[in-house]
């Protein structure tokens, strides 16, 4: 049994089954395929994703504990890693035992997590604004084209632009509807062909990541 689970063929077979069901439902329809598709994308997708999250969470906890136990780790970091693990496990236990609608869990969410997220988000947004200002410079010809296009679209959307020059509307729309659309479609067609190629290699078990 363990040999079967460890074999390279098993994931490939499962991928084949999933691909056949998803493509079959999309192209051929039918009640049986629809049911299989729903079971696959709703039930099994949730189950597999949750298993992946559990594996991921355990890996993260294991790493934190390893760092905390390591002798050469500084005391502050050791404390922080232990504290993080303790908090994570505590919140998990509260969520599982009392439910995510319990007052304790809600308190943790409303008075610890939410303010922390908002603080970090606010700080990063300021950095993002200054980063955009610093980054969007005409360092080379491509960046210059991007900058000019961006300015034209900005002027198209700015209410004041029509008072300055009525042509901003048409010029900005032309950049968006003609130049931008043509480029977007070319890149998207190429990207989708690339994705198909990757899928074929996975189905043929020739993708290196799968251990080919």
């Amino acid at each position: 049994m363990s040999n079967i689970l460890k074999s390279r063929e098993l994931p490939i077979v499962l991928i084949w089954i999933a691909v056949l069901i998803i493509f079959g439902d999309y192209f051929f329809g039918g009640t049986a395929l629809r049911t299989a598709f729903t079971v696959l994308t709703v039930d099994w997708a949730v189950i597999i994703t949750n298993i992946a999250i559990i594996v991921g969470a355990l890996a993260v906890l294991q790493r934190s504990l390893n760092i905390a136990r390591r002798e050469r780790t500084e005391k502050v970091e050791r404390f922080m890693q232990t504290w993080t693990v303790f908090l994570a496990v505590s919140i998990f236990v509260i969520g599982v035992t009392l439910g995510i609608r319990s007052s304790i869990y809600s308190w943790v969410y409303n008075y610890i997590l939410l303010p922390s997220w908002q603080t970090v988000y606010t700080l990063i947004i300021f950095f993002m604004a200054t980063a955009s200002y610093r980054a969007y410079r005409a360092n080379n010809s491509y960046a210059a084209v991007l900058l000019i296009s961006g300015l034209l679209v900005l002027m198209r959307n700015a209410p004041v632009s029509s008072s300055i020059w009525s042509g901003f509307q048409d010029l900005g729309s032309w950049v968006l509807d003609v130049v931008n659309l043509a480029g977007t479609r070319a890149i998207m067609i190429g990207a989708m062909i690339g994705a198909i190629s990757l899928l074929i290699k996975v189905l043929l078990a020739k993708e290196k990541i799968l251990g080919e």
Binding site: A45, S116, W117, V120, Y136, Y142, I187
Partner: protein, 260 residues
């Protein structure tokens, strides 16, 4: 009564055709031995230079896996993991310092396994430590600040971010640029391509991201798949030209055929 769902016949035809072309490209390269000559993108060449730079400077290379779980954007993550495999093999061979950061708990074990395997394959299993692959936070902005702290703390000499990124993209690129690090990126989403264009020294666009694994490995099979991809693009291009001509002359035959 049609077997295929109405409006999806042409999609099925093109899917089969593109698949056939990719398989033919692989067959031609592997079985017939006609390996296509492929120009390697500057971003892939730059990976080797970036590793060399890190060795010379004694500073680490930071590889970011991109945001999101395995269940979303799986194809992009798979392409990213190919580049991670190549990059970690390079750093292991050249004894460069390496850090891989991830905001996804589901990508973390995958990245860890791939990097560990690269070190083992290079005969340097001790080079891989619990600090090599780091899970930072699955909250986008918390991850952002953690990466910026990591970059400053470790004084990275190169930053690689190829895959699925969102608003954190420009912020992390700019933070690396502030440190004087080389930025190598790659995105297929239109929203992120401008960020990559202005923030990166070298970057991959669109299909190059999916083909990155093939570019890295230079194996006949992988190069053959690139040939199939190129042939598929020629088919798409021909269809665009024919469609434009038909439409210009007042015929909607191609449009109707594509709606079958």
């Amino acid at each position: 009564m049609s077997i295929v769902v109405s409006g999806r016949l042409s999609q099925l035809v093109f899917l089969v055709l593109y698949s056939f072309l990719v398989i033919y490209g692989i067959y031609r390269s592997v079985v017939q031995g006609k390996i296509p000559k492929v120009r390697q993108p500057a971003a892939i060449k730059a990976l080797e230079e970036a590793v060399g730079r890190c060795v010379e400077m004694g500073k680490p290379l930071l590889f970011q896996t991109g945001i999101g779980d395995v269940s979303t954007e799986g194809v992009t993550h798979m392409a990213m993991l190919s580049v991670l495999s190549y990059t970690s093999a390079l750093v292991a061979q050249k004894n460069a310092k390496f850090i891989c950061s991830t905001p996804s708990p589901t990508l973390f074990p995958l990245a860890e396994a791939i990097v560990r395997e690269a070190y083992v394959a290079a005969g340097k299993p001790d080079g891989f430590t619990s600090d090599t692959v780091r899970y930072l936070s699955n909250d986008q902005m918390a991850y952002c600040s953690a990466v910026m702290h990591l970059m400053n703390q470790e004084q990275v000499a190169a930053n690689v971010q190829i895959g699925f990124f969102q608003a954190e993209n420009l912020v992390t690129l700019e933070a690396a640029k502030d440190l004087g690090a080389i930025n190598i990126g790659g995105a297929y989403r239109m929203l992120r391509i401008p960020d990559m264009a202005i923030g990166c020294d070298f970057f991959l666009i669109g299909e190059e991201v999916f083909a990155a694994g093939a570019f890295c490995s230079q194996e006949p099979l992988q190069l053959g798949s690139l040939l199939g991809q190129d042939m598929s693009k020629w088919v798409a291009l021909a269809l665009i030209v024919v469609g434009t001509l038909f439409t210009a002359f007042g015929s909607d035959a191609i449009v109707k055929a594509l709606r079958l």
